[in-house]
Symmetry: C2
Subunit: 258 residues, 2 copies
């Protein structure tokens, strides 16, 4: 089975051109088939505010009314995605920018209204793994932004971490997939005050121990639970750390396996 890496970057890397350029250089040097998934929340908040649209967040998730969806479509699908594609082309990577609507790659359902009405937010239903693979087989490098669609003509805002893991799960029928979640820290820390205290390996057994010892707490728990979900659904391994983990030289990041 050939290998496929799915790399997810967040808002901080995109916000700053220097860090974006440095990341894209690392990404371009990464060997083998690869897919990039990006957010862009900070840029969206910035443009929404310029357009006089208030950004409402509940539990870190954006409430997406019709106006906000327009901003997200402009910022994620246009500004951020197409600039990343142009920069990758300059690095000789034959990138292709996509939303979930393009080639029907990620179909989702509008989230049902329960206690909170999240608006035009989509929960992923299905990945068109064969269509995505046609692009990979043609030597194109897919760059996904955090937008999906319901195949009834409606675009939907979707969490970028979820997009990365669902693509990885979907593609694991065809490839041995690895997810790289890039964030600010070096990885999962055993001591939150010591940025170098990285837990290098987590598996089902050690995860239980880390939970019992209260080394992994709060917001990190759902993130790692999601990693295990992906691993239980066919993903080979998940790496968590800063972008330096894409280089061969660095081994100071967290690797999660079953």
């Amino acid at each position: 089975m050939e290998k496929l890496s799915i790399i997810k970057i967040g808002g901080n890397i995109i916000e700053d051109d220097t860090s974006l350029n440095a990341f894209l250089k690392l990404f371009s040097n990464l060997e083998g088939h690869k897919i990039l998934v990006h957010g862009g929340g900070k840029r969206a908040t910035h443009f929404a505010s310029k357009l006089g649209i208030e950004s409402k967040m509940i539990n870190g998730r954006r409430i997406t009314d019709a106006e906000t969806l327009e901003v997200i479509t402009m910022v994620y699908g246009g500004l951020v995605n197409k600039n990343i594609v142009a920069k990758l082309q300059a690095l000789q990577i034959d990138a292709i920018g996509l939303t979930g609507a393009d080639i029907n790659s990620i179909q989702s359902e509008k989230r049902p209204v329960k206690e909170v009405d999240f608006g035009f937010v989509g929960d992923v239903k299905e990945i068109a793994s064969k269509s995505i693979d046609k692009l990979i087989k043609a030597n194109f490098t897919p760059v996904f932004c955090a937008i999906t669609h319901d195949r009834k003509g409606q675009l939907l805002n979707t969490n970028a971490d979820t997009i990365a893991s669902t693509i990885a799960v979907g593609m694991s029928k065809i490839y041995e997939t690895t997810i790289y979640y890039c964030f600010e820290l070096n990885g999962v820390l055993s001591d939150f005050n010591d940025k170098k205290s990285v837990v290098k390996n987590i598996n089902t057994k050690t995860y239980k121990e880390l939970l019992e010892a209260k080394i992994i707490t709060d917001g990190m728990i759902p993130k790692i639970d999601n990693c295990f979900d992906a691993l239980n659904n066919g993903v080979h391994q998940v790496h968590i750390g800063n972008t330096a983990m894409l280089t061969q030289k660095n081994d100071n990041f967290t690797t999660i396996t079953l």
Copy 2:
């Protein structure tokens, strides 16, 4: 040789959701391989003004400073393009939205500054016809917005008519290509005051006669000259008219051949 239709729509069709939906229905019913090219200038002007950016036009061409390029990337590449893709997916067309940066499909050069500095405006240099054909052969329907890139990381604003004709010329090595330029009128009119007075056929010989008789004048001359340029470079035929020309029933539009 298989046939390929390149359909270009302008700002008026996009501006109004009813006319866009009606057009996309016609487009989805069009048989054979097809590529859509769209502008979006009116939407861009609208959002630029909301963001406090003044739109400057010279001879109908937008002066594209850095801020304006951001708006164009957001509106053409994001808002307009991705909504068209989502609407086409709902019509069972496996659309894929592209700028010229995606799969390096349209490489251009920043226009040199002469009397006017157009800013980030690109003149098309090269079409990646083989890469575009990989998408067509995979049964995807490309939807191009009016943005290209210089392959050095810079996106550039490019006239949508030019994109349509250059794609058609580039693809004519592989396909028998036909361009459909959709605009408000039924076609080239022999009497500007009579909207039904369509000149149905123009070729090299009758074009000279129409010019001499001053039936074709002013702004229509460069448009038709561009059509003959495309025909002289391998394009099979060019149709000019309103979107109804995409139906089999209507024959009241202008067809240009050599």
